[in-house]
Each structure stands twice: as structure tokens, then as C-alpha cells.
Symmetry: C2
Subunit: 243 residues, 2 copies
DNA sequence: CGCCCCTTTGACGTGAGTCAAGGGGGGTGG
DNA sequence: CCACCCCCCTTGACTCACGTCAAAGGGGCG
């Protein structure tokens, strides 16, 4: 298995490099992890969380694999002195809680009202022991995740505020299919974006304004962004999307 | 899945599968991936690379899994406008080239003179298809990698220059066993450290000087650092090591 | 209608980047 | 064995992007 990183499929989660096409990919294996979880549907339960409610905390015993049905989740860490880092946003279709040891590595909080499909880890682990194809899917999922995280690392290490914002918007658009029509729905607030990109909320605001003034985006409402010059945005982002 | 993460050495792991729940962390598996590669020894060849020589380039066809016998490798990306990001340093005993699709995601270059043990990917893939335990090791390896990368993301997103340097030194010390005696050998130059931490070489120099003046480290030679106040360094690093 | 929370903008401060000018160590050649 | 040179590291002076602090808008909901 070449640990192939599925480099295509826009919508149902996983996509790591939405922008780089071309590579004959194929984690063989056929189905993605979300799909395969269907095998555990009898063990799953559906749960609702209100905006800002915590699903689990860093350090909690890891007991659940979560599938976002609707809404958005932020996976983050807090430091004693109040800094916060958001590693990732899980959107509709995405999984979280998969990676880690016996305890959760991140705190998971609802960005907006959220519906989750929750699978017991015990069953999940059991299935991956029994079913090689399932484990392959896990591997593929992990692999995608790793690529995304490495992308993020690059963004944080090398890019300016405007570039980071462009990377974020393009990445989000690629995940939600908004690259087609340019209409992007932001479920998270400016502070969340800031903590994801290693910037402050004021800098995010100024970067948004700058992109708007440059005609690259329009901002009809705070939580809706229209991509007006996608190519320019992709250029700014360095041609590599975050997520 | 428990995808146990910690790279913590003593790995007298027991679990039959890394996915088994609740097992005390520590790369279970008994054997790690490096060890399991022994099964492919008949296909391996040993190669030498001089300082700054490239092992492969980003975009090359991915054909090899590499095991660092001695020396150090940097895994990096370049942008058109000359920025460079070093995702990771592979030190003696580490593997690289495992993750990715049909093409390399990173450029790999020798930081110092290097000896590699190179395994053909074809054989590697074949083995992981045949041998579930092997695939489990791959998964475990990936998982470690992901945790490291997420750590790195946190460092880049939240920390100041001095904190980043402390994180780097502590992480490196933890990997090389230098936490014991505090004697740390830096195979990479200041520019490499800068590109790894998202800073400039001048900022690295100033941060080194600052830590030195604060008595946290001593710098007998450019490439040797002695950790004088490990606790303080760990405190600065936020208590979480990079690698 | 009005409150509250989030966002936006402005004015100013600062940590890191940039530019430039020395050092110093190790390898090479004489 | 010494001396020179080259490359990298270090330091200083100045700039600038981003952070901080403060205050003024909105927009949604009671």
C-alpha cells in the first residue's frame, strides 16, 4: 500500500489536497472511512450539541469516533496562559476523534449547533482488527489527515496574514464545493479563524478587508464570503489549499 | 482506534494490534516499523549522500523507503519565490519516504554526510498487503508522524521565537536521548533551524544568545548545545516537545 | 426597541524581519 | 605547520507586519 493520499473527491470529507490533481491515486481499497462506518450503524447514536458546547476535552478518555452530520466542530488545544490553537475544523461529513491514544489529544467544541453520529471506539477497534479493508481505510484517513496537517504547517511557517487567509478560504471552498460557484459559508467566527491561522482577530479582520478592497472577495455578511477572483486567491495561497 | 502515538522509547509493547482500545500508550506492536523492515533486508541497498546532496525531490516518483543509518536528512518544500519550509529532520534510526502517494511530497536533502538503507517501495507495499502486523506498524508510524506534525503546528501557530527554539531543542534532546546528560549535538545549521521554525536565521541566533544569557543553555561550539536548565526549557516549550 | 456580542477600524507598540558589517572555525593549499 | 579563505554564524541598526489597546459600528434576538 503506498499510503496513497486520496487527492481528489471534494465533498465527503477526507480530501487532503483538493487542489493538486493529476496523481493517479487510489488508496485502492475503494471506500472511504466514513462510508465504511456504516457497518457499525447498529452501535451508533445521534447526538446534538449547542454552539460552543464541548463534545470532549483534551485528556478525556477516548471513547468515541464522531461523524459530523451537520454543523461544524473545532478541534483545539489550550495553554495555561490562555492561548488557543485550533488544529482543524470538522465540517459536515468529516470524522474526528479517530486519531490518538487512550486519551483525546484535542478538545472538540461545537462551532455552531451540531448533529453528530457517534460510534463507540470499542466497536471501531474491533472492526479494524477483523477487517483489513477497514484498516486500510483508517490508514487512508490518517494519511489524508497528515497531508492536511503538513499543509497547515507550511502555511503557519511561511505565509503572511493575507496569504494565510487566502489559503484558508481556498481550502474551505475546496472542501465544501464552493470553488464551483464561489459562494462560501463560514460557520466559524473571526476569532476561530484567527486561532486556526496563528493570528489575532484584528489581523483577520484587516486581511478580510484587504482582500475585499483588492476585489478578490466580497463579504455580503460576516459569515458569507464570495470568491470573486479564485485564481488570484489560489495564487496568494501558494497554490496549495489548507484542508 | 488507539493509534498509539507516543514515540517514547521503551516500547515493550504487548498488544497484538495497535488498534486495540485502552492499552496503555506506547507504540504497542512489540516491533516498530524500522524493525519490521528487516524482513526486506534482502532487497535493501545502502547509499551514501554528501552534505546538501538531494536524496529525492518533491514531485519525483516515490520509489523508496529510506532508513537513516547515520547522519541527518531534512524533508522540505520550496516555493517559487524562494521560501523554504523544513517539515522534519530525520535522524539516525528514523524513516522517511513512507507517507505520500505516487510522488514525493517533500524534497529530501542530506544535512550532513548521510548513510541510508534504502528499500524499494514495491516490496514495501507488497509486504504490507501480505502482512497485517506490518500494516499495523505502518499505521503506528503514520500516527506518530501525525502527532509530531500537530505539535509542530501548535509551535508555529502559538509560540514566540524563544519558545519555538526551546521546543525544538527539547524535542531534539528527547529524540536523541540528550535529556539525560543535557549534551545536544546539532547536525543542522542555523538556517535549517530557522526554516523549520518559521523564523529567520538572525532571529534564531538572537534566540540562542538570549537562552544562553539566561543561563538555560551553554553553547560550547556552534553545533553543540548543553541544556543547563532543562525544566525551564521544557516550561518555555509549553511542556510539549516537537518531535 | 434596545441590549449584547461580535466585528471592524484606528492609533500606537513591539517582536521579528531586513540590511549590513564584522567574526570565527575548519578545511585547503602552500 | 601555518596562513589564507570561505562559509556560516553573530551582532547591530533600522523597518515593518502584526499585536495590543481602545472605541465605535452592526446585526440578531429577546
Amino acid at each position: 500500500m503506498s499510503l496513497n493520499i486520496s487527492r481528489k473527491e471534494p465533498s465527503p470529507g477526507v480530501a487532503a489536497y483538493p487542489l493538486s490533481d493529476g496523481v493517479p491515486a487510489g488508496i485502492g481499497e475503494g471506500e472511504n472511512l466514513q462510508h465504511r462506518l456504516g457497518a457499525l450503524r447498529e452501535f451508533a447514536r445521534t447526538q446534538h450539541f449547542a454552539r460552543n458546547e464541548a463534545v470532549f476535552q483534551e485528556g478525556d478518555r477516548a471513547q468515541a469516533i464522531c461523524h459530523v452530520v451537520s454543523g461544524a466542530i473545532r478541534l483545539c488545544r489550550h495553554t495555561e496562559d490562555g492561548r488557543r490553537h485550533i488544529a482543524e475544523f470538522a465540517l459536515g461529513g468529516d470524522l474526528f476523534g479517530v486519531v490518538g491514544g487512550a486519551t483525546q489529544v484535542f478538545t472538540a467544541e461545537a462551532v455552531s449547533d451540531v448533529v453528530l453520529r457517534v460510534y463507540p471506539r470499542v466497536q471501531f477497534d474491533r472492526l479494524s482488527e477483523r477487517e483489513p479493508g477497514f484498516r486500510a481505510s483508517v490508514l487512508s484517513h490518517l494519511s489524508s489527515n497528515l497531508m492536511s496537517t503538513q499543509m497547515h504547517t507550511f502555511v503557519l511557517g511561511c505565509q503572511s496574514a493575507k496569504e494565510r487567509l487566502a489559503s484558508f478560504l481556498v481550502g474551505l471552498a475546496a472542501r465544501t464545493g464552493a470553488l464551483e460557484n464561489g459562494r462560501l459559508e463560514l460557520s466559524m467566527g473571526r476569532q476561530d479563524i484567527a486561532d486556526h491561522l496563528g493570528l489575532t482577530i484584528e489581523t483577520i479582520c484587516r486581511a478580510v478587508t484587504a482582500l475585499k478592497n483588492a476585489g478578490l472577495i466580497a463579504v455580503p455578511t460576516t459569515h458569507r464570503i464570495e470568491l470573486r477572483k479564485v485564481d488570484a486567491l489560489i495564487g496568494l495561497s501558494g497554490g496549495r489549499a489548507i484542508h
